[in-house]
Symmetry: D2
Subunit: 292 residues, 4 copies
């Protein structure tokens, strides 16, 4: 079979820049069955390596490349003994392994999305070996050169809402583009994404996560919110107060707008009861809160 | 501007068959604020009408068509006074209205997907006006001619899993295509979709839903499962036992395969600990369980 | 390990109703390499069987059940020799096999979503073995008892839009809920789902599909549309005219609303230029067009 | 209504770090109707501002905040006169506006996902005002302080596949984890994401995009690929050769594995015809190619 006629882009001098490769969306599930009360870990894993991979890219020489299939096998194999606690600890194990595994590897990172399962309640008791999936997720990222690690943890898909004690008023009027009326009582809803860095090299990552997760929900309830920006700052302040292990925390808070539907046209008073949930567009706030 | 040259498909005699139209994915949110302890309802609604709509289809005569924008307005307006309890009751209200609204309307249906919100816990107590979204959903469909109604309710996105007490053995060997080994201890996981019909014209739909939802989870835990088919039957039997209001119940149970990863290749014994969660394909079981 | 305490739903007399089981989302890809100009078929397949499966459901006796893993193996094995042309023909092959495969099987169905790939163009020519994925999909469903078949084919994810020659006027005013102004020039956009049945037992299914697919697009362009309902009818009439093999055709046409943005507030005239694409809710029209 | 009892996280000293806010997923559609041959632009827009927003975050003082609703209005209003060509040029217009709009704004960015529409073909001619949606997307990001801009453009959802002329061999064996056999003839498929930066301050962004888009597809066809890494490098080299305006280009190339199904178990030879498309996990390659 002959090649397609060569499509000639003019030849120019180029070089390989920053790059990485590995395996993504590895679906790993681990059961801890030491006692009749089983525990489960359900994680989506991405592992990637960085290093001197010029030969493969430029010359098509795969000699120093680990197959991504090998990466996959390794994740499952290391999970047997190396995944005993948090995904963050497992991430360190994976990074250590992959930095050592390839002759040209200089660094590696592992990213996790951990699905959370609660015990099914039977007669008021959590069942020993039956579970029901929760919506929020525990995320984590571990990056390193084999010696030192940068660990980030976070939360995804925590959807919270309050039906009062929030407003949006006193903002800048930009004529003629500002048409939104002020309000001091609205529905506020947001789909929390959080991510934090650590002030310490080692800690009980699951315990920190549980405290942050709980604190975010509690703080969300405890104040009149004049803006999602102010709530973002309060969430950050509270997480840093509750978790001395955390050095700084970032939030992405979309404003899932719940708009009072105009019922006056139909001779009805809305009374803060009937809302349209507008899927798009949405206000989007992002920011870090750090120790001063 | 001139028309595009007419593309002539040969003319043939045709007629309009069964048809309906309306508004879909209306995002309705209602807050009940009679007391400081607020309640919320968060529903995606589709409403459609059936009837004699030939003039609009065949002749382009819209005289007897309600605009779908009007349908949308009506859903929000009726929600103010007509949406006091379950989506099923609201569905009857909507069907009654739309059958009366259009001169050519003979029937209508309303479909609902209700998102569930739990109260955020603060100090062990559910908060008065702050909520966190849950994953499972309450679905419902009400169809009628204005006088009588057919109501169906259901559950979506209830993801349950057990780490033991299930197997798959003794099945038919179809040579040469059967390659799967038997097992009497596996991880069984399924994403429950349920739907049921009623033996009564009226009942407390939310209460029935809560009982069915709880019973499905409890029954999932209480037996050794030789197959998802047997579990499907047991779930149905238990729901019918717990809920005399229900005449029959349907389940769709995908088998979310958790496959033991082959670690023997790496000199490791798996021991029922390390699984790959295979996203596709999956076994899929569907069936009705009915009163005998 | 002891069982969880039995959760007792009251025992009632129940029986198994209509049911089926099989494998879903089998991702099958076939390359035809008889000549250097390769052809590809990329399909998502669901296969399910119906029959007398009471023993498995009621008694947990799997003796007569084919494993869904076997179903998967079989789909790939039969694709080698039995998938030479259209998915519809392959569906008949699958149904024939599965009805014969199980002692208790009485019927079977196969559902397909076929992804379409075009040849990558190089120098104005379609390449021999390189392809680029298209958005629209070819769907099909074949159901049968092994002797006779019911075949349905269709189109999904064909997103079409016209910037003029459509309107919405002269509709019913339902006071006070109708607030939408009339228009005789709007943007009309819809995400076409079509499904059709056949007047013949055998035909060149791919050729019919290609004609219907082309005709739907051409007819979409050729008229002033007073409503999506009228366009639905015209699409049906044209498909039936172009394809004598088709007995009737169903469309689902969501009205992807493109709403003129109110720029008058900012001292600007819109002039039919600036639109907000509203994701939800949307008008939804469904209907059959049949031979008279 | 009394507040929930204050949940006291210990108070610590914190400060606001890097932050931004704005509006996301604005769905803007523009029709150019100067001549009967209409043109359309269909874009999802995110706009965000950075600056001194401490008062809002820390003190709940919104005085200097633009409402995100105002941001939305502004996007539509500016689109009337300021969106005459590429999204990249429109992005500069938006950044200029928002940096000027707020007293505390120091910078802004605009992100775009542009959906592509082809003209529907009628009688071999593209229609004047009827269009069909394509799968690939044109992405762009413009960031700036009002004076200077950093522009990035890219491609998303370009799914390409070749049925031969690719392999994976000669890679590192990492015992015992490497189990994958070598191959010199496989199906290679990837879902191209590309992103590039510019060597110039101004250019015809749409023309550059069209050349890059075409070149990527042509280069994908023109070589035996020993790895996705090598193909990534070749794609980059060709884009830089074809587009002198581009300074460097980044690709993310997932390896959408098409695995030969093991038919030998059924007494069949596969012959490179029958593949399982494995959705997860997948190899993932990312890298920059730059001018040397």
């Amino acid at each position: 079979m002959s090649e397609a006629p060569r499509v000639d882009a003019p030849r120019v001098k180029v070089r390989l820049g920053e790059n990485n490769y590995g395996k993504a969306d590895v679906q790993l599930f681990k059961v801890f069955r030491d006692t009749p009360r089983h525990e489960v870990r359900d994680v989506r894993v991405r592992v990637a390596m960085t290093g001197e991979f010029g030969a493969a890219h430029v010359d098509g020489d795969n000699t120093d490349l680990l197959a991504t299939d090998t990466v996959r096998n390794t994740v499952y194999a290391l999970a047997k003994t190396g995944f005993a606690g948090s995904v963050e600890e497992f991430g360190k194990e994976l990074v250590r392994h992959f930095v050592a595994a390839g002759p040209r590897v200089q660094g590696a990172f592992a990213e996790f999305t951990e699905h959370l399962w609660s015990r099914i309640e039977v007669g008021g008791q959590g069942h020993d070996h039956s579970f029901v999936r929760q919506m929020p997720k525990h995320t984590a990222r571990v990056e390193g050169d084999g010696q030192t690690f940068k660990v980030t943890s976070g939360i995804e898909e925590l959807y919270v809402l309050k039906t009062t004690r929030s407003g949006w008023a006193g903002y800048l009027l930009d004529e003629p583009y500002t048409t939104l009326p002020e309000t001091t009582d609205r529905v506020m809803a947001t789909f929390v994404t959080a991510r934090w860095e650590y002030a310490v090299d080692e800690c009980d990552y699951d315990d920190v996560w549980a405290r942050a997760y709980r604190q975010i929900q509690e703080t969300f309830t405890d104040h009149y919110s004049p803006s999602l920006q102010n709530t973002l700052y309060r969430l950050g302040e509270a997480v840093l107060g509750r978790c001395p292990e955390i050095s700084r925390v970032w939030f992405q808070l979309p404003n899932k707008h719940h708009l009072p539907y105009n019922l006056a046209r139909f001779g009805l008073e809305n009374g803060g009861e009937i809302f349209h949930v507008d899927p798009e567009p949405y206000g989007l706030m992002e920011g870090w809160v750090e120790r001063a």
